[in-house]
């Protein structure tokens, strides 16, 4: 049943490179857009405008932010471990970009006579690949916090470690139901399996668990304990500034995109549209992006609404509620799949 990289078409080597560059560029362009959308929307949720001074309607604000950050001094505390301190943000950003590669933006399209899949790569172990890179991303946070040589960073890193490990279990188990139903680990085939009905309907519990665990995985409110600006200043990135902080920031928002993309792919039918709509192939990436944006807006909405959990609440919520629920969901799905097969 499980097969590795079932490729029924041949992609030339240059297509792979072009695809990689294009997808990286899209990811890179999306981050400032969400940054702006987040700040504008957060403003609206708080009955204010948000940034509106730089450029028309404040659209150049992310550019100004990035410009400011890049212009800053490369500072590091004297207690830090230089090599690891510099390495940590790179690990974060690399793992985020790598995870972004598996989000399918569309099926195989015929572009100038060559079949090209609109995704970075279609690995036969899609979700496992995602969680593997999620686990590596956690090294970025952990090393960053530890190598900074600061109490706040260290506390933030510890929290991040515990939180990411606890919620990754629930996150993985919440997708298991979908994998059982679809009978494949390839994200492209999971999307194809949703032609009749999006998995959000039969796997509603899994979807909700995935969303909640996704919030925790991306360190977003109400689970932003690793950053907890009020008590830990900035958590693992307290001692970071300038371009290194920018890369942490970038990785964080890219992770939000990745989780949104996976949620859209696995539960909302990827590039498929409801009511039998079948637009031409070039619309597919736009459909996926639109679905991703729905999740991004949800992320922002929740951030504007919910306060931070207490640490013990977070842990007991992850282990005592989400994990049993996710396990139960997987079990019930397995029984149903076997019984109806």
């Amino acid at each position: 049943m499980t097969h590795f990289a079932l490729v029924s078409y041949y992609e030339p080597w240059y297509a792979q490179i072009v695809k990689a560059v294009v997808i990286f560029a899209i990811g890179l362009q999306m981050v400032p857009v969400i940054l702006l959308v987040e700040r504008k929307l957060l403003g609206r949720f708080q009955a204010r405008y948000g940034p509106n001074r730089v450029g028309p309607f404040g659209v150049l604000q992310p550019l100004a932010d990035i410009g400011k950050l890049l212009g800053k001094e490369q500072f590091r505390p004297s207690t830090s471990i230089g090599f690891l301190y510099a390495l940590a943000p790179i690990i974060s950003i690399v793992s985020a970009v790598a995870a972004f590669a598996i989000i399918p933006f569309g099926d195989v399209q015929d572009i100038f006579g060559t079949g090209i899949g609109l995704y970075g790569l279609d690995v036969g172990i899609g979700p496992l690949y995602l969680f593997a890179f999620g686990a590596i991303a956690f090294y970025g946070l952990m090393l960053g916090g530890w190598a900074s040589g600061s109490k706040y960073s260290f506390l933030g890193a510890m929290r991040a470690a515990a939180q990411l490990i606890s919620f990754e279990v629930a996150l993985a188990l919440s997708i298991v139901g979908v994998i059982f139903t679809a009978g494949t680990l390839s994200l492209v085939e999971i999307v194809e399996a949703q032609r009749g009905m999006w998995f959000v309907v039969p796997q509603l519990v899994g979807f909700v668990i995935f969303l909640i665990a996704g919030f925790a995985e991306t360190n977003r409110t109400p689970f932003d304990l690793p950053e907890a600006d009020a008590e830990l200043i900035g958590g693992y990135n307290t001692e970071y500034g300038g371009a290194r902080f920018a890369s942490y920031f970038f990785a964080e928002y890219l992770n939000i995109l990745v989780v949104s993309g996976i949620a859209a792919t696995v539960f909302l039918g990827g590039w498929l549209l409801p009511f039998g709509l079948d637009p031409p192939g070039w619309v597919d990436p736009l459909v996926v992006l639109a679905k991703m944006f729905v999740f991004v807006i949800l992320f922002i909405w929740v951030r504007a609404t919910l306060p931070r959990l207490r640490y013990d609440q977070l842990m007991s919520f992850g282990w005592k509620i989400l994990l049993p629920l996710a396990t139960l969901n997987a079990l019930v799905t397995a029984i149903v799949v076997v019984a109806t097969d």
Partner: protein
């Protein structure tokens, strides 16, 4: 622990119900939805921000802003007669008045004397309005201007000419019932 009595004056703390299991989760979920509804209502309401430099908060008619000195509208003579009552009333001691005699060919005010020097140090002024109350001729009143920041302290000492002049920009006045 059960029979330990902390004393009469210690109040028992009222606590909410324990979160509990499934019921607690259900309640938390409902409350989350209620919170989301609350924040979404703010989006529909629209921003409440006043874009300050372009848009100004209208002041009330009795707002105590920067002082103004007045002239008689018919004769154009200054109302101030240099009595220094304002300076005497000023708790911050920011008003300096030097009086001089009116002469037939140099008639500045309606009274016997006039203020040859009238300075208010706005960096000291606390905008209490006592000068306005003390003035027997309503020569000084509190205006509506509140944008008085400057780069030098010495620029904040307003002279008689500056106080007599009409302010360049009118501060918007709050309409009735606004």
């Amino acid at each position: 622990m059960a029979d330990w009595n902390p004393g009469e004056d210690v109040l028992a703390v009222q606590r909410g119900p324990e979160p509990g299991g499934a019921g607690g989760a259900y309640r938390a979920f409902g409350e989350t939805l209620r919170g989301l509804k609350t924040t979404f209502a703010r989006v529909i309401e629209g921003p409440k921000t006043i874009q300050y430099p372009e848009e100004k908060v209208p002041v009330y008619p009795r707002f105590r802003g920067r002082h103004k000195l007045h002239r008689f509208e018919d004769t154009g003579l200054e109302k101030c007669v240099g009595c220094s009552l304002c300076a005497a009333a000023c708790p911050a001691d920011c008003i300096r008045v030097v009086a001089a005699e009116n002469t037939p060919d140099n008639r500045v005010s309606a009274g016997e004397r006039y203020a040859a020097v009238y300075e208010i140090n706005l960096s000291r002024c606390i905008f209490c309005g006592y000068c306005e109350v003390a003035c027997p001729f309503d020569a000084i009143t509190m205006g509506h201007d509140y944008e008085m920041s400057d780069y030098n302290r010495s620029d904040l000492i307003f002279t008689k000419e500056m106080l007599l002049a009409e302010s360049l920009e009118r501060t918007p006045l709050r309409a009735e019932g606004e």
